[in-house]
Subunit: 250 residues, 8 copies
């Protein structure tokens, strides 16, 4: 239930195409629907411009399916992140139409193609192993109607690999810079572009890397002014932040 | 040396108002000026839309003064952050025209009023003690030509203090949410608004607060999708990020 | 062996209904029974008002069974927490009458229904994934004779989900507020109610969440005065604390 | 402005003793008063049963004085915690009637003696050096109308020092157990009494003590079921929690 | 090859019972034997009074077997610690005479019964789950000829369980106090006895326990003067330290 | 009041040299004396063989003086550790006969020369800067009647400096090995001697040294079997542990 | 494509042995080849003297195979580190000629024997369990044309094991000193030799070892001047650093 | 006493220019001189090619002076690092000829100009505030006879500042790359040059920088193969390592 669909519904009521009763029924889930173990926030699309996204990792298959059904029943597109392959298989088997994208670990169901929104986001990674996080960001952006360009394996140890992407970066509205290991990529990117840079540390690394704390601290203490940071491996959060930013484009 | 001044200089050369020699002299500092102990990045304004800002805290008075003189000599506005009061006194005594704002700990010198840019930023704090960080953000924004509204002491323990600001928040283009203690403010703000939210943890607290690590971790692990984070007490970084974002407005 | 049963036993001896020899035998386990690898504290119910509860997680099936038999043999109700499903199956197979509650991971055996005690506890969670910890608390409270109301998935990112529960919270004697991710829920709850608030951080989260340290630090540094904290995922501890508090009700 | 004074004011209006205009004026500060840099929460006493307490440590003298004046102007008692001696001197000089208690580092001003409330709290420390935290708790409790008994230097290395206090502990409604070093005291106390135990770690110690993290972790991982924990050195928080608990008494 | 066996060998040579050649052969491994991947320290028994003990955990079965054969070939008793059950099975199958003690996770082979040494060690645990660490200590002590008394599940939450053991503790030469959770046991034991107390933190616990760091910090910061600490779960180290201490008994 | 003095007192009573009344008076402080803010444990000497030692660092001058007077009044020797120079001056001025040893930061008052006890302790340091911790250990040992040999600046980077002390180490009953920086000394010492080795990490170092955590972790994870560890900078604890160990000598 | 092969190619073009077209084709991959998910840096050998080495651990089999094929297709030797045994099997099955060395966990394919380079590297370990890291270093050095001598199990607890290697160490150009547990080996080695010492902490250990942080901190805070450190378990990095150093030999 | 002076002394003895007695006297300090509180390692120059350098920070003025006198008395150059300005003043006043370099915080006394050694070291910093650490490295290198080139303020946020130094870096034998904040500089430098790169993290930064842990972790987890790391702020260690490396040049 986003702003467009709400307006259209109310217009339908106004011109008699929908009865007050049916409209009430359609709006019954507002502001949220209580499933007992979950309160599905159908009105988030109205409030924040993006539908409720389900964090799949710590939930059981039963919980994901029940929430998915509630969302789909309201006519909203479904988006579940951080779903392991075997869990995804079970969910897709029980939610008709749902599909799993292994690269991004996302389960989605598009009742309607996402409404196109302005703005272009460059998703850049330092290494090959950071790609799953990048794909999570890219897929969430695609499913919320944004244009994405991908540039992978551009780490700073081979600077020319990054400098070759300068043009693409300069012509983007937002850059999401993703890096494991020491996480130096966003510092360099931040110095190359004037647009907002969202840094995403990843858990790719070992030893003093501490599961991503090393690149996280790197990004928080960057000498590049105005670089923004989200949690380790949080491709979803980076995409949501980019979506918030791109609303300013109009 | 920002884009407008560069264009104007080149037009002056084109129509003979400025000799090639003088233009060359004016541009001599590009891309940076080597002071031996520092390389002043005069061309950052061109590249990133904001002038080079000097981090005052770890520098000596001599270093700050020399860098300040180089910046002012190029005709740029001066902006030095995190300057202790006694150091600021010495710097201002030696850099004519420089002034110190105690609330934000900023030394600045405005050769020209900052060029007004679009967009409005709400700067919100959880407590009274977070104000110095907020003022750093607000003052940097003001000096780079942005409109700021301040709302202080709106912590979540007295929720009505925050909910009363809903209208101001909703009508801003970016919200900078600043909090020490447990740092819960940005999570709640992120749920209230659809615009970008920049979270700034502060070092206000004690014990398990660990100098700001507690609110930093709170903000990074927020359940509010799309909240962005900068380093502890980094009001400057939040302002720079907001400036990057507001460029999208046009 | 709680205070009521002890008194009744002594009265039986007084009026000749029980021989001194049999009473001595019944009391033989006081103050504790030495199983070699464990000392079962039968007299805890007398001392603290709650029976000894067994922490199942680090114990072998053999150990749990032997302790369970000693407790049941004394006529006390059995309560074993943090038992994995497969281990629970083995225990239940060997302790007649024991049952396993998968949601709370508790094995229990009620020889007699728990004696009803005054007071009502609201168990609130921020997310769906915090439910197992909530159920541990709720089930322990139920087994010790307390009334519980559950309110799940009320995280602060969708504030209305929490504000809708204000009435329930206000009419409870104790609130147990459970949250993973950034753990902001107890701060907000603490500002809404005047009764004791027990905050339980959970291990639900990833990255900078550090297995629950993030919400733990959040809760310890809360700006809500008088919020109390227990260990990560410690639903049992929260319930025990609530039981201690409710004894004041009389 | 607590519940009793509000009721009395409204009764005065009802029987004409106070004009509606004056009542309105008296209530003007509800729900909070905006000082620009602070929002004083006059209605906290109504909502939570205790007046707003000011955390003095990170605030300037100017800020403390202004907030104090606003509180006193509303007719409420003043309570400022964690005030260093020199700062306290300045505050007391500017807020007539305010007094400083060095042991607890509290500045207070009692317009009226605190309304006596039921319940007795035992404040116990492991060492002599934990006394300032204990005094903060005790003084806050006294100023909010509670009875306090102090037992200091009862650490577990000389167990008889603690066991001698068993009777006092057993006859209290709440025990606040305060310890630096390894912080083992609350574990032992929790095993001796049936009432609620609030554990307060202190920053007294060195080396692996890490500014209080050692006793904090000790208390969170206690084997004594139902022990509750607050932040390091947070005597105030322990007192507030005890006050919340004692409301259940009557 | 300990001091007694060396002396006896040299006496044999002196009185012609052993040829110089055979003695040389017997001593060939001194000071150590190079297996390529390991240097077996046969002369440790001479230098430190205890034979070389093999840390089994990070070694492969092949490595353990080869080292075991080298030790047995020299006529020394074998002692391998921290061996998982499946690995132990393979080792025992290939080293004739070796046996596995599941409780202590030790593989040993006693060519001769350990020479009895003076002194008695009390091994005390806080909980049932600390027993494997205790058994490692106890078994190592037994295999090096020391007398051990075990007292398990004496945690401080039920103080009488510990106080009942006072006599046993007081009559021991060394106490090894083992505890997971908050690890308060050694602090209390240290206050009860005058003999050396060796504290062993264990990894039994969860949440803020951090794999044993909580009890480790507790023990290091103990208020009981003269308590000594070894690494988490290091029952072997505690036993070796006790053996060093007991040499002073003569 | 140690065991010898107690026995002598009782013998005096037996043969009429001391009246029962006077004996009772002399024993009045047992088991401890309550000063209100401190409970002085006069009977520790009986229980543990060493007098109560006062940790001076976190106490005020008033507190130290009052405790000192209570101890001296009972006829016991006084020993206060970790006293800063200026605080020590004030204490000595108010406690007649007290003297301050700057090297060890100890205030002491010897009413009688300490009773000589058997055993010799070698106190070894890695560097010159570790000496204050070493002197604390050495002075405490001297004041409790033990023989000490000092060997300073024997760090492992110049191995010959340590190997030259092999004979001294081998002929000692206990070695206290003290090291800052990386703290490798006890590992090497532990391999050289068969007697108990007590490792003391110090706070001498910087950067990744983390105030002594680096050498602390080094010592806890040592590959030298049977090395024992105390808290960072805890020379006092090491001495107390050595005293406990040396009681075994007879 | 290293400097020698490039020079030879250009000479071939110069004397007509290779057509410009074929040379261009051979150089097509410069500066890197874009595989979409990876940018293979063929020109690293030119820039840094060593071929691109692939970090196998976080990559999928598909990714490793594709990168391997690109490298081999350019005529370069292949070197993939940190490959688990089962993954290695799949890679070798799909990349003809590739072989797996289990000890070092390296997959390699030598199209030509590595060009011999000057210099000798001693690889020394403290324990048997550190061997895999040592073998990674040794194998990488061998594959890049360097001479290696191995000395394993020379930990400082049995100092003679290390001192026996003094001659070998003294005659090497670089020493790589590898140690888990407390990691004291490089400190002692650094004091024995004048050549560069590269310290590698390993994850071998438990408890306070924290996955290698203990030896890492040990090595960083070493009292041996001029010891250099790489990440935990980073045998590859140590080898690469040694290769950089040995280039100075000429 | 380095190798050259030793050889010359022995030649003097051989040709009668120095009596055996005088030579013996000159060598008396070998292998070290015992000052009681310090063992001065005169023979380090022989063993490691560099004279003993004194870590001044944790030592008293008395200790520094005594050690300095011992070193100078042996005819060696003096080098004391990390000396605060006021302490340096006292030392210089008491050691004739000693001078203090404020930029590097080094006290030195050059009896003879350092013997020139081959090799050139580039010392590069990311920021102006890293200069003190850089100067420590540069001054130590100068005093041990090495050529140094300095390039300061070349951080990666303004990449052109670094890329401009490519030629200088490429023509150096060793690069010491020094950075605070996020410490990304060595990763980029490591990708640009083939020679050894020594990374030095500095304590310049705040918040999540944690006193230099952020750049330390960055450097340890670098994606640039073969970058070596020393402790935070350890300019001295970097210089010593460079000196070890440059010995390979011949």
């Amino acid at each position: 239930m986003d702003a467009a669909r709400l307006r259209s519904l109310l217009e339908d009521v106004a011109r008699g195409a929908v009865s007050a009763h049916d409209a009430a029924e359609a709006l019954r889930g507002l502001p949220y629907e209580d499933l007992g173990f979950a309160r599905v926030d159908h009105h988030r699309a109205l409030r924040q411009g993006v539908p409720e996204v389900v964090l799949g990792e710590p939930k059981t298959v039963d919980q994901i399916v029940a929430i998915a059904q509630a969302i789909v029943a309201r006519g909203d597109n479904l988006l579940v992140t951080r779903v392991a392959a075997d869990k995804a298989r079970d969910v897709c088997a029980r939610v008709p139409g749902a599909r799993y994208d292994e690269a991004s670990r996302i389960v989605s169901l598009e009742l309607a193609p996402p409404q196109a929104r302005g703005g272009r986001v460059a998703v850049v990674t330092a290494g090959t192993s950071d790609i799953p996080v990048a794909e999570e960001a890219a897929e969430v952006l695609r499913l919320t109607g944004h244009e994405v360009v991908r540039r992978y394996d551009c780490g700073v140890a081979g600077l020319h690999r990054l400098l070759d992407q300068r043009e693409v970066l300069a012509s983007s509205d937002v850059v999401i810079a993703i890096a494991g290991m020491e996480g130096a990529l966003p510092s360099v990117v931040g110095g190359l572009v004037a647009c907002p840079v969202i840094a995403v540390p990843t858990s790719v690394g070992y030893g003093a890397h501490l599961g991503g704390l090393a690149p996280l601290m790197t990004m928080l203490t960057t000498c590049s002014a105005g670089v923004l940071v989200v949690n380790i491996d949080n491709g979803f959060g980076a995409a949501m932040a980019a979506a918030r930013i791109l609303r300013l484009k109009g």
